[in-house]
Symmetry: C2
Subunit: 249 residues, 2 copies
């Protein structure tokens, strides 16, 4: 049961760096408003307060960039446990746009409270830093995908990655997980066209690797899919990875 927002934050931070009792207590004491985003495809641009740091509690969102002529690139998927606006918190200025991909609920922590907490507990700064480094690591892996992997490999890689990230926060059910993206959103994430995403999914279905309907993916043989994608999970920096073996072959 990780629906308490502060617990989710603590769990996320501890997945990279062990925290002591007083640090955990400090985090647990952070004031934290819940904010629910009612629908999909909502740009969060003006909707999120600049004076708060937000974390996804439930649902999906993405970072994206639009080019002047309408091309769009989705830069990352954001899932429960992911913190959205640390860049803004640290560097100020703008960060890439964020939009929901499903109904979502966010937790909002006032910047000032977080600042105060970090003054008392400098190691929490390091823990938060870690989460941004992991995000960067994922970004880099996407770079490898888009730069060097074929369409099927890319798709397979994204599915493997998403499966493990969700498993780490308890959002998988066996080999199934929710993936509420349209094919054209997948296309924007993978640097492909919508049509080709469709072809690619057909191929993965026909070869019996996955099922994907109604926003739910099922991976029939994780290890095979991972091999095809040249997926290796180190870059996710998950400390525990009990689930790969647990997936039925």
């Amino acid at each position: 049961m990780k629906t308490m927002p502060n617990d989710l934050l603590i769990a996320r931070l501890q997945s990279h760096l062990a925290l002591d009792e007083s640090e955990r207590n400090g985090l647990a004491g952070l004031p934290c408003q819940m904010r629910s985003m009612p629908g999909r495809n909502l740009a969060l641009a003006g909707k999120l307060s600049e004076n708060h740091v937000h974390m996804i509690i439930e649902g999906y969102a993405c970072r994206y960039r639009d080019l002047a002529d309408g091309r769009r690139q989705i830069l990352s998927l954001l899932m429960p446990g992911d913190v959205i606006d640390l860049r803004q918190f640290v560097l100020g200025g703008m960060q890439p746009a964020v939009a929901t991909l499903s109904v979502a609920t966010l937790a909002a922590i006032p910047n000032a409270s977080l600042f105060r907490l970090l003054e008392d507990h400098p190691r929490i700064t390091t823990a938060l830093w870690s989460t941004t480094l992991v995000e960067e690591s994922i970004s880099r892996e996407w770079l490898v995908s888009i730069g060097k992997r074929s369409a099927i490999e890319r798709m397979a890689h994204l599915l493997c990655e998403t499966f493990l990230r969700l498993a780490a926060v308890g959002r998988t059910e066996g080999a199934r997980f929710p993936l509420p993206l349209t094919q054209s959103e997948l296309a924007d994430a993978l640097g492909l066209s919508t049509v080709h995403v469709n072809r690619t999914l057909q191929e993965l279905r026909k070869s019996g690797q996955i099922a994907f309907q109604a926003g739910t993916v099922e991976i029939f043989d994780f290890n095979a899919l991972a091999a095809q994608a040249m997926f290796s999970p180190d870059y996710l920096h998950l400390r525990e990875m009990p689930l790969i073996g647990a997936v039925p072959a």
Copy 2:
């Protein structure tokens, strides 16, 4: 004159966050060994001590990933002022491989000294964190390039980005700057084939946009090149950007 390694580090950190006197003094007092890497194309894997954080003082390097079947993706270019191994410092574990792209000289700071400094000056942690966030921001922009920009746009974008990054550390001369990459290294960075990099460079030359010979690039009209690439420099998070205007049109 930024050849003193600690000064370069201070300058880099201050480009994101103003530091006070005692913080600057602390940084200036960091012990720091110089290490020179004699040639290009040296993987730094075993060569860098895990007990030090390294910064590039002179020369070029890159992060890269090799896939099992020989495909390679260059993930980022590292230039004077860039810190190489903060991920390892914070998260431990592996980070993507790094290789030199020219003769280079590095500064090595013992992890232990840095840890001690960060305990006394927590804001320096935030400043270091900022540098990794800027790197991430650049990664994301590469993602946009490889995902959505055409070959010429990609090349133009890389040249604009590199020009500004080098200008920020005083490594440009007017509109010229060193870029000691082979066409096949450029290909690995841009997600293109060597042949197509060649074609693309020819085209940029024929249209009078750039000169590129002997490892030196000259940009004849920065603003035009930036427009073609849909380059906008915000993502580099440079606080001062006096140089765009200064480039002759």
